[in-house]
């Protein structure tokens, strides 16, 4: 049943994170976005964001989002029993936000996250950084910075495990509880 295999291990992922840091810096410069803040999406996005936040030396504390209250599939799958509080410890109004998630697939998580961010205020801009971008988009959402784009079939799932060490796992078994990324 379980034929998960490791796609990428901690060291290689650290390498990707290093590249993402450079790419984010370049994007911020091009956009002339000063004093950015960062928000990670629970759970994998927060692990990744903690690392990026530190490497970029962002002064404001890291924000975290649990998008359970904004999902579009509540009427289909009900309440997530493990919902965590969202914590945005800074003003969102007029800030440049770096939004961080582990895997971008359908785009529905990012849609929900942006809706939630706008309930805190009107940001100046949002830059999307994901460790993995894969096929399967259902909404017109594109990442600004990506770590890796693995070629995956429709049946394959890629998941970030952590928080320490980080590993990227590819599985082909359908996981019932898994949401859409």
């Amino acid at each position: 049943m379980n034929n998960d295999k490791i796609y990428m291990q901690a060291e290689a992922i650290d390498g990707l994170i290093g590249e993402m840091v450079q790419a984010i810096k370049t994007r911020l410069e091009v956009q002339q976005a000063r004093d950015p803040v960062m928000i990670g999406i629970h759970t994998g996005g927060v692990w990744l964001a903690e690392r990026l936040h530190k490497l970029l030396g962002i002064k404001q504390p890291l924000g975290t989002l649990d998008i359970s209250f904004y999902r579009d599939d509540f009427t289909r799958i009900g309440m997530n029993p493990k919902v965590k509080p969202s914590q945005i410890p800074f003003e969102v109004e007029d800030r440049h936000i770096i939004l961080v998630d582990d895997v971008l697939q359908t785009g529905r998580t990012i849609r929900a996250a942006m809706n939630e961010i706008f309930d805190y205020g009107r940001p100046a801009s949002i830059l999307l950084a994901t460790l993995v971008e894969r096929s399967g988009r259902e909404l017109p959402i594109q990442p600004s910075v990506v770590g890796v784009r693995p070629p995956l079939t429709h049946e394959q799932q890629i998941t970030l495990t952590g928080p320490d060490p980080l590993n990227l796992i590819i599985g082909t078994s359908k996981q019932e509880t898994r949401g859409t990324s």
Partner: protein, 325 residues
């Protein structure tokens, strides 16, 4: 085998919330954890999440209430649901409509959830039994039976201040006999593993079966609150008093009213709770009600988060493909 709990769906999820009775500790903890994540919503600029958008929630109150009805209404609105408030005591039942007729008429208006308060014990259970399968029912107080959301907001308040329930000593003071709140609190406290639950009341305000509830009974206030971590004062339910259960309010205060002086018997960091509305000078002094150990207003705020949690959990069981995904 006990008969299946009407509150749970076939996957063991909370479908209705009628009583604490029969719910496991894990379920109560899930309610508290979910409520914890909702507390942040009320502190934001936009105090609203889109979870129950397009759902219609009917507050069906056959008995007067301001605070409970209002907090249910606020909770529903912060979940983006549409809210119907019906105070039925003053409407159709006085014209002879039965409870079942009321239910069928509101069902015809495509209501998704009923929040019901009624002076008859079992009214919410009745609604849950006869309502269409997609409808969830929440008990907002039925007779002298149960008031589970009040109990859970009290548990939430205690957990916020004291952390774990193991090791806690909690005293409930006042009119236990008429109190659905006390019944639900005792069940919840024991389910969550509270070390000792005490009730303090005159003999005339205790039910005959008190000891079977798993509590220690005291008749003296100072003795009862000695070294407790939490003091829960109950409201003296004047409207439920028939017959001479009490000599007078004044005398009640002399014996059971909570004052600063009496509170000294409790632990130095003990918190004081009250489900409201307070009869000042009957159950407690204003000094205590407004004092540093009082968490009475926090109970009101937490009540919104707890009701949001229960509403979203029960409505989540209406999910179509829950098992299929």
């Amino acid at each position: 085998m006990s008969k299946p709990n009407i509150q749970l769906d076939s996957h063991g999820r909370l479908k209705h919330f009628l009583t604490i009775d029969g719910l496991k500790r894990e379920m109560l903890t899930e309610i508290l954890d979910t409520a914890e994540s909702f507390t942040g919503v009320s502190e934001r600029v936009v105090k609203k999440v889109p979870l129950l958008r397009g759902k219609t929630i009917c507050n069906l109150f056959f008995e007067n209430s301001t605070r409970t009805r209002t907090t249910f209404e606020v909770a529903a609105k912060r979940l983006s649901a549409d809210v119907l408030n019906l105070n039925v005591g003053t409407s159709s039942t006085t014209k002879g409509e039965t409870l079942l007729d009321t239910l069928r008429n509101l069902e015809a208006m495509h209501v998704d959830m009923f929040v019901i308060r009624h002076s008859d014990s079992g009214a919410a259970h009745f609604f849950a039994s006869y309502a269409a399968p997609h409808i969830s029912v929440i008990n907002a107080g039925d007779g002298q039976h149960a008031h589970p959301t009040q109990a859970m907001l009290d548990m939430f308040t205690i957990r916020r201040h004291k952390g774990d329930f193991a090791g806690l000593r909690v005293a409930i003071v006042g009119d236990i006999l008429h109190s659905r709140v006390a019944r639900s609190q005792i069940l919840a406290l024991n389910t969550l593993g509270t070390s000792e639950v005490r009730v303090i009341a005159p003999r005339t305000l205790l039910p005959a079966d008190t000891r079977s509830l798993g509590v220690h009974v005291f008749h003296d206030l100072e003795e009862g609150i000695r070294d407790v971590d939490v003091v829960i004062m109950l409201r003296l339910q004047k409207e439920r008093m028939t017959g001479a259960l009490l000599p007078s309010e004044h005398e009640y205060f002399q014996l059971y009213g909570l004052t600063e002086k009496r509170l000294r018997a409790a632990k130095p960091d003990a918190i004081v709770m009250h489900p409201g509305p307070i009869n000042r000078g009957v159950e407690m002094d204003s000094q205590v009600a407004d004092g540093p150990r009082s968490v009475i207003l926090q109970q009101v705020s937490f009540g919104i988060a707890v009701r949001m949690a229960v509403m979203s959990m029960t409505m989540g069981t209406q999910a179509q493909g829950a098992a299929a995904r």
